[in-house]
Structures are given as C-alpha cells and as structure tokens.
Assembly symmetry: C2
Homo-oligomer: 354 residues x 2
Amino acid sequence: MTETLTVDLGNRSYPIIIGRELLGGGFDLSRYVAGSGCLVVSNETVAPLYLDALEACLGDKHVDSLALPDGEAYKTLDTLSRVLDKLVDTKAARDTTVIALGGGVVGDITGFAAACYMRGVAFIQVPTTLLAQVDSSVGGKTGVNHTGGKNLVGAFHQPRLVLIDTDTLGTLPDRELKAGLAEVIKHGAIVDADFFAWLEVNMEALLAREPDALAHAIRRSCEIKAEVVAEDEREAGRRAILNFGHTFGHAIERCQGYGDWLHGEAVAAGMIMAARLSDIGDDAVDRLTALVANAGLPVMPPGIGADAMMEAMGLDKKVVANRLRFVLLERLGAAIVTSEYDPERLAATLEAAN
Amino acid sequence: MTETLTVDLGNRSYPIIIGRELLGGGFDLSRYVAGSGCLVVSNETVAPLYLDALEACLGDKHVDSLALPDGEAYKTLDTLSRVLDKLVDTKAARDTTVIALGGGVVGDITGFAAACYMRGVAFIQVPTTLLAQVDSSVGGKTGVNHTGGKNLVGAFHQPRLVLIDTDTLGTLPDRELKAGLAEVIKHGAIVDADFFAWLEVNMEALLAREPDALAHAIRRSCEIKAEVVAEDEREAGRRAILNFGHTFGHAIERCQGYGDWLHGEAVAAGMIMAARLSDIGDDAVDRLTALVANAGLPVMPPGIGADAMMEAMGLDKKVVANRLRFVLLERLGAAIVTSEYDPERLAATLEAAN
C-alpha cells in the first residue's frame, strides 16, 4: 500500500510518498521531472544497489549520474564542488532536476547543490536509509559541515517530492538502522507520548525489520516532522524542537571530528543528556534511557570529558549572543526551546556523562 | 540631502538610502545590526579607503573585518570559503550581521556567504562603485562564478539595507565609472524612455561626476530596479529584462575568461548586439550606440568571432531546454523576454560584431 503525506508550505508544498516496490519502475518519477533531464547523485555504496532501479522510474528522461564517496567525512564544500562541476559538465539547464539517492549525507549535499546551482533548481529526495526517511529528507534543510561546526554552511531548499521505498531498508546495515531509530524515538519524545509508548512496545519488531512496524514508524515520524516544519519552515521558533539531543549530539560529533559515531548514535546519547537537563523526573529519564538502550544505541558519550564537550558547544548554531539554548522536555511528548536552564544541572549532566 | 527608497518585498522589504557624507559617522548603521557583532567584508583596494569611515558608523558594535583580493577573477568558491572561514574563526553567531563594503564582486560573494552561513544571516550592502550602487547591490542576487559560467552558483538573499554614499564615487577610477554607466543606460533602455533621453542630454555631466547628475542617475536606476524586483523577486518572468545585453555580455566575458573587460563594458557591447537582434529600427539602434559611445564604452565585442560567441552562449543561464532566450527591445524604454527571435538576424548580428 502506498501512502501520501503532504508537507504544507503554500506554493512550496510537496508530497511524501511512502510504500514498497516503488523503485524498479513501480512509481512513475518522470512526472516530477519538469524538464528533459536530471542528475541523480548517489554514493559508491548505494549506487550499485539502487541506481538502475531508480532509472527504471524515469522513463525516457535523460539521466546523468554521479556517485560520491560514502560517509559523513565527505560532507564538505569540496564534495559540493564536485556536484556543481558535474552539473556544469553535463550542461544542466535551469529546468534540470537534481535527485538525491541515498542517506542523509547524500541528501544534504545534493539539496545544497540544487539550491545553489543557478540560484536554485528542482530537487527530489529518494532516501534509502531509515535516518534519511524519517528525518533528513523532509523539511528542506540542506548543507555541508565545516571544521567549525556541523551543517554550518547550507540553505533551506524544499524538495518537489520525497519518495520513500521502504524496501531499501532491506540492504541497510543494522548499525545504520539503529541510528535511524534514534530520530524516530526523538519524534515521540518531543511531540507524541502515544507514539513513544508504541515504540516501547514495538522496538523488537522494528529491529527485526517487520514491514508493518517500520512503515508505521516512518509514516508517523514524517507526519510529525511535516507538521512542525509547516508551522515554522525557517526555524524562527518551534522547529528548533527537532534539534532535541542535537546540541549535545553535535558536540560529540565535533569532538570526534565526524565519522566515528554515526549521527544517530550521537543524537541518542545527546537526547539522554538533554532529558537529564530537563525537569521531567527520574522515571521519564529512565524510560527514555531504556528505549534508547533497547534500540541498541549508546546512552553515554564516548568519554570525551565535560570541558571538551562544553568547548565544542561554544560554536553550536543554537548559540544566541553567547548564551546556550537547549531543547528540553516538559514531559515525554512535549518539548520547548529555552535558555532558562540550571547551569549547575548542566555541569552535573556533563560530569555524569563522562 | 538623503533620500530613502524602498524595495517592496513583504516581510523582506528593505530601504535603499542614498546621500552624501553618510560614511565617517554621518549615518548610524548600528541600528541595523541586530546582534552584538558584525563582519565587514571588503577588498584590498576599498578597505584602506573606507573601512575606518564605515566603522565610525557602527558605534559600539563589535566589528571584525576581512579584505579579499580585488577583481572578478577572485569571485570563486575558494574566495567564498575564505569568508565562511572568517565567520567560523570569529565565532560569528546566528544573530551576526555581514556587511559588504565594495563593488559588485565583494557584494555578490559576501551576500552569498551571508546566505549560506548557518543557512542565512543578516546582510547589509554598502556599495562603493557606480555599478554596485545602480545595480548589483539591489535585488538580492548573490553568488560566484564557475568556469562553466558567470554567477552559476549562488542564492537569492535580500539585504536588510543598501547604504549608498555617493561621495565614494570620488575615488572610483574613470574606467569603472563608465562601466557603471552601462547599467544606468540599460535601465533607461528597458523601462524608461524619458530617463534614456535625460541620459542623452546629461552624459557629459555624469562623466564629469557632477553630484546632482550622479545622484539623479543612481536614484532613478535604483527605483527602476526596485520596481522590477518587487514584481518578480526570483526571476520567474519579468525580472529577466534586467539581463538586457547580458546574454551577449556574459558570452564576451566567458570567452575572455573574466577579468579582461569589466562586466559593464561587456554589457555595453552586449546591449548593442541585443538591440540589433530586436526589431526597433535603425534610428533606435543608432541612438543606443551613440549613448554607449558617448559614455566611453565599447560598442563592439573585442574580436572573439561569431562561433566562439555562440558556443559561449550555449551554457548561459537563460538557456531553457537548449533554446536561447533573449531580452529584446520593443522600443527604447520597453523590453521583453523571448525565444521568438530570427535565427538569421542572430547570425548576422554575431557576424557584424566580429
């Protein structure tokens, strides 16, 4: 069964289509390619698996393709340049469509290239990892990392379509599946206590990749993300709740130089730190910790040290006038963005986690 | 006398302030700097002349500055990286303001950096060349060149303010003053026959840098540009008329590898070619040619050859589905965007010009 959600952004609204057997020709993607040609950007891992299947959805459109090296370490301005060079080399015109086939790194770089090339061309997301399907492919945030911080350089550029073939999860390594579950858990924790409770019951089914369970988790995550993004596309306010766990998570990634832990793993440990900094009681923190642990995700940072974490948070994008802003929980299922936190509790949280 | 125009773009509207003795402390720019700090980006020519005078307008705001190498040849992704690195090095926060002090190259690169850093921070234009004052600082087009084409990589990012101190033209080399006049002539040719006629009468006064004449030319140019941009910010249609002369002009620049002729010089010769391709009669073409010549600008491309020009136009941004689109004149003072042109007349125009 194929389901369609909508990200409601006025004249930039777009569908998220979720189903099985969409790649390989089951879905007619050519309808979404406005001009005569497109560039599919993927990586060296995903292209051999799904590039042909994607091309089978593109009918008689002219298709160029580019496979980037795989990994967060390549999410750089240099790799962005490679995508832009490819667009130039293939003489891509203003009506070209750029398609991202892969995980969050491919989607973020490719979307940024689509945002910049000729000041913006059409863009389609075909996410093949759970993390990209439940989070990064929806909402229009694109960009690359900088030595100074993660996603420090980028653009808001909404896709025309997000096409999620859940069958692609069949080839996803276990570790990446789990990393995606971190963002699924996040969506429950910040917005939907019922969904959080559903995850507590169904984590085993998700890890066993039961299709119905995965489909529900993906759909509900996309619904939550679409709602939050529709309310606050450019993150002037509420959208920032989607960064729950990310201030700590990004600090972990920075200290590691990106590429040791997966993003979802850093977010998992970061969510527990953010929950400890929140005033939600031990029971709620314990429930979150148990769910993260049951998903096979880390509940503690990898021994970075409190001072290094603090320093790494100094250039987090959520710094406003040198005062840290955190996404905290009011309870499981409700989050707020605030700089009203207890500094001692922050120090204790950092010490306890290291 | 200080005058204020408005670029009307809803919640992204902004003022253009035009006057004398604004730099040096005559204008309080600190009111437009939302946060505590700003980065002024200039170049090695302009910074020694006006950086101190700009800082005098910034009160007690924290000011960092960066001087880029001077010239179109440096309008590249590498230079963009330098600006981004500076923002990171100075730990610029989300509420930072980036100020461009210089000509079109500085404004375009700096605006693009402001668009990308943390997916968009505040931006102010302080143009110091005639070309930047009458054209590139208004309208939100930012970007850099690529070997494949001019401004091929960029973003739409509107400034918060355009501050034009016409006294800065006192230090502008004659050749650059004339290059700026090309865009002034363009505004008359595409929108306002009366202004075109005014330019025919007042070209000598403009070349003599008479302040009242310059002030009128700048004000009327900004009004025309602001009107066109307000109607069509993202260049879905009418805004493209501002590219009159630019399809040919960009081809000239590409063939030269950027940096031999100034942009305005290439546009000057390009406008005459576009007028010849238009069906406006010999008298109108002669009037435009005479005005361009009287401004001390080239009326012919520099012997590139018709074939090289054609090839260079192959990847122009105005290519749609491999069909060239041109901005043509219906008469002096009225332009249209069309792909309905006579191919033989195009061939003849290219031959005649080489």
